[in-house]
């Protein structure tokens, strides 16, 4: 018997936890839940459950970890089919054996699963260089609440046969169906990876970001990180640093490093620390981990998407306004994709509790569209994770009603109360 407590979401705990052995079993479970009027939440590694609201009803947790195999992989095709419960680390390791990769860029890859990462719509920093996961998914199979398994796409890299249903399941947070398998394009591993980390003084941030635009070689990722003390690369991590990842041939990565150092130097940034290969990967991963890293039980984290050139200024504004409220802010501006992450915290939990509504209104006002992606469940329960719904919400509700008429899948967890 599996302890149900580990699967709690907010103040809801399932009555029962199932670990289906295969896709057919997942579909059968969904159908039986639907028939019985029970609410079910699909569970991967549980690492991104800070995204979305707690479900309004929660009878059963359906844990996907037994679907943990590579379904199909011929490295020469540069495609792979993976079951939903396989961990990102396991996939990454298998791909690395063939000198290939998928830029998952997801926090806690040893726990995070393929299905959970897709369902959460995770889109990491390297999407500016390689495309987001939604762009690399070439096919999927989903278990639906009527007990069917629906496949879309395939194992080919160009495919316009039928609707692109995979796009619908990716990012749906398990509210339309359970992804049981996903097929991806894979990428050949670049010959070289190097992470450059430059400490930035208070006056040099904006100039450093602008200088980055003059580096001719486009980085695979570039982020400005404020705070997250002790949680990232170890360079200047009580203050501000620019984190830039270069991937490519040795010659191009060397050239990029020279250009970066020269541009930063001309803008008053004297030091650049370099991490190579495995060290670069570890340091980059810690930065990604920080995006959802809580500060004990006294923080909540927002993510907001927008245009890249405004990312730093939006992050700066949010940071300033949160500190004005007497709260602590740690923040990341992804200057390649436009994503901004802001972690709002307090030295004492009660202070954050008191100022939570103000902080929420402030962040959403300053960042525009912002969604909660992490934080202590009791704090998150007082806020709507999604903010005001987009203009297509009626269509989204209709999709939910058509795919899950009984409201079986994580009711209330998604955008607009879906």
């Amino acid at each position: 018997m599996i302890a149900v407590g580990a699967f709690a979401l907010g103040d809801r705990t399932p009555r029962r936890v199932d670990e289906p052995a295969d896709a057919a079993a997942v579909a059968a479970l969904l159908k039986s839940c639907s028939t019985a009027g029970e609410a079910a939440v699909i569970v991967g590694g549980g690492t991104l459950q800070g995204i979305g609201n707690a479900p309004a009803r929660y009878d059963r947790a359906i844990v996907m970890r037994r679907l943990d195999r590579i379904a199909s992989y011929d490295p020469r095709d540069l495609t792979i089919g993976i079951e939903a419960g396989m961990t990102i680390a396991a996939v990454t390791q298998r791909l690395a054996e063939e000198r290939q990769f998928i830029p998952f860029d997801v926090p806690r890859p040893h726990e995070a699963t393929v299905g959970g990462t897709l369902a959460a719509g995770w889109a990491g920093p390297r999407r500016a260089a390689y495309g987001a996961l939604r762009d690399l998914v070439i096919g999927s199979t989903a278990a639906l609440t009527d007990g069917t398994l629906a496949t879309a796409g395939g194992m080919v890299v160009k495919n316009v046969t039928g609707y692109d249903m995979s796009k619908l399941y990716v990012g749906s947070l398990g509210t339309l169906g359970a992804i049981v398998r996903a097929n991806f394009k894979t990428l050949p591993r670049p010959a070289m990876r190097r992470l450059a980390v430059a400490p930035l003084g208070p006056q040099s941030e904006e100039r450093a970001v602008a200088a980055l635009g003059s580096v001719m070689v486009e980085p695979a990722a570039a982020l400005v990180v404020r705070g997250f003390t002790g949680k990232t690369t170890g360079v200047n991590d009580e203050s501000v640093r620019l984190v830039v990842l270069f991937e490519g041939s040795a010659a191009t990565v060397d050239r990029a490093t020279r250009e970066l150092r020269s541009q930063l130097g001309a803008n008053g940034v004297a030091q650049t620390h370099l991490f190579e290969e495995a060290a670069a990967e570890r340091a980059f991963q810690t930065t990604i981990d920080a995006t959802i890293e809580p500060l004990a039980d006294r923080s909540i984290t927002y993510r907001s998407r927008g245009i890249p050139t405004a990312a730093w200024a939006r992050m700066d504004a949010a940071h300033t306004h949160i500190e004005r409220l007497g709260l602590l802010a740690d923040a990341i501006a992804d200057v390649r994709t436009g994503d901004v992450y802001v972690r709002v915290a307090a030295g004492v939990r009660e202070v954050l509790e008191d100022r939570l509504a103000d902080a929420d209104a402030t962040v959403r006002r300053v960042l525009g569209r912002a969604t909660l992606v992490a934080g202590e469940p009791g704090l998150r329960a007082r806020l709507d994770a999604w903010g005001s719904p987009p203009s297509t919400i009626a269509t989204m509700r209709a999709l939910k009603a058509r795919f899950d008429p009984a409201g079986t899948l994580a009711p209330g967890r998604y955008v607009g109360g879906i």
């Binding site: 989903a142 069917t148 879309a152 890299v157 316009v160 990428l187 041939s249 927008g306 569209r369």
Partner: protein
């Protein structure tokens, strides 16, 4: 042009639709005379009925009005870009209203620093990249039709092109859409918004879910250096082996295209771009990126090509020669049109390692049906385009083309492939969809259709098979 399923155009019957459209939008926007409607009866696949009316709207509001009136009249609505589609997607099967985007063809906003632009659907694909090149950016999807096809049409079919190999297809370059729904209401989607990926579902839906009226596209930085190599091979199989080896070695060029002898000879006769005549197949490889990487990448490609039997390897001398090679590659179908009475271009996709085997099978099938076949295809993606050459006036030929085409599709499916890589399903391949997908798979897609277009007014008779499967989808809806 191959118009296999040709039927005689006949006139639409509803006068109410035309009258009301003219009333609401004026005779400058709404067209009802048969001579004005004739151009909307066909695309590059086939010719069918004249629509009852056509509109050439100036903005989304007018599209919405037209859609509402058509719905009230019970008439289907078919959106149309440039009509270059190869699967009948823009053809009105049962009269109704055609919405042409000929007037909505502007670049509305360009933000080169953030690499995005907002365009109207009627903007011609190549016109966008030309208009923005001075800013150092380009729009990557480049279907062979890009000189005339529109970005709206490209969104409809999720169009591909030679450079999809490393850049991805249209869907990977769409950041958001404005669309008119079945009720005539205007909506906007964005990948930056939370919620279901409505953008991703609309792209490639061939006008069956909504009518796109504005498109936010992702742009890319023009590469610092580009190099195009040409390798000649004794036959298509050995060229295909080279392609599989290049991909298998972990190299992803920006394009990796094969043309067989029949195509090369036709193209060279027409364009004189410098393709090696007389060889069994030509491999066209493009690499792009940092200038310092070009020599080494080229050396690796040339070595792999030689190891797989390349008879020669050379690179284009300059940008002008590169452009000439690409222009002639993209004009291959047109060049065939000059030497063949008719041709039928098939579109299918297989896993890359299956290329040599599938090329062998296509050759066998063509021989069996006694049809000359030319191959010009996106080899790096495993995306095949056999051109079956025939004479429409010979009944045996027409039937043989249809049968050979179907057998090619079945062969690709058996190898783990699919029936369309980039052209779409339209009505050409709708009945073949059930070769790829189960009833349950199609039912899930049908649910999306139910939500966006419950009345089946948007481009009916496209994508989904007629008959049993549709019936089941419908019954599921009622239940």
């Amino acid at each position: 042009m191959a118009r296999v399923a040709r039927t005689m155009p006949n006139l639409g019957t509803s006068t109410e639709l035309g009258t009301r459209l003219v009333e609401a939008l004026g005779s400058g926007v709404a067209l009802t005379q048969p001579e004005d409607l004739a151009v909307y009866a066909f695309d590059a696949y086939s010719e069918d009925r004249l629509p009852t009316a056509a509109v050439v709207p100036r903005d989304a509001r007018e599209v919405g009005i037209a859609v509402r009136i058509a719905r009230e009249c019970g008439e289907p609505v078919v959106p149309r870009g440039a009509g270059t589609g190869l699967c009948g997607g823009a053809v009105p099967r049962n009269g109704g209203l055609v919405v042409s985007f000929a007037r909505m063809n502007r670049l509305l906003e360009l933000d080169a620093r953030n690499k995005r632009a907002r365009v109207q659907p009627g903007l011609i694909n190549l016109a966008l990249s030309k208009a923005i090149a001075a800013e150092g950016v380009f729009y990557a999807p480049d279907p062979a039709s890009q000189k005339i096809s529109t970005i709206g049409g490209n969104v409809g079919t999720n169009a591909g092109g030679p450079h999809c190999l490393s850049y991805g297809t249209t869907t990977n370059h769409i950041l958001g859409l404005e669309y008119v729904d079945a009720a005539g209401e205007v909506h906007r989607t964005s990948l930056d918004d939370p919620g279901y990926d409505v953008t991703g579902v609309l792209v490639g839906s061939e006008g069956t879910l909504g009518i796109v009226t504005e498109i936010d596209v992702r742009l890319m930085t023009l590469p610092e250096a580009v190099r195009v190599g040409l390798a000649a091979f004794a036959d298509v199989e050995s060229a295909s082996e080279a392609v599989s080896a290049i991909i298998g070695a972990g190299i992803v060029p920006t394009a990796l295209e094969i043309m067989d002898k029949l195509i090369v000879d036709a193209v060279e006769a027409h364009y004189h771009a410098g393709f090696p005549l007389g060889s069994g197949a030509v491999l066209l490889v493009e690499i792009a990126g940092a200038a310092g990487d070009m020599d080494e990448s080229e050396a690796v490609l040339a070595r792999i090509a030689r190891e797989h039997g390349a008879l020669s390897w050379r690179t284009a001398r300059d940008a002008a020669e590169r452009d000439a090679l690409w222009a002639s590659r993209k004009g291959a179908a047109g060049a065939i049109g000059r030497i063949a009475p008719n041709y039928y271009i098939q579109d299918a996709c297989v896993p890359r390692t299956k290329l040599p085997q599938v090329m062998h099978e296509i050759d066998r099938i063509a021989r069996e049906y006694r049809l000359p076949v030319g191959n010009v295809f996106h080899a790096g993606d495993g995306n095949l385009h056999p051109l079956l050459i025939f004479d429409r006036r010979v009944a045996r030929d027409v039937q043989a083309v249809v049968d050979a085409g179907t057998e090619i599709l079945r062969t690709c499916i058996a190898m783990g492939g699919t029936i369309s890589g980039e052209h779409g399903i339209g009505y050409e391949k709708r009945e073949s969809l059930s070769l790829v997908f189960t009833t349950d798979d199609l039912a899930a897609m049908g649910r999306v259709r139910d939500v966006f277009d419950p009345g089946r007014n948007f481009n009916p008779d496209k994508i989904f098979p007629s008959g049993a499967v549709c019936g089941e989808v419908k019954r599921a809806h009622v239940a």
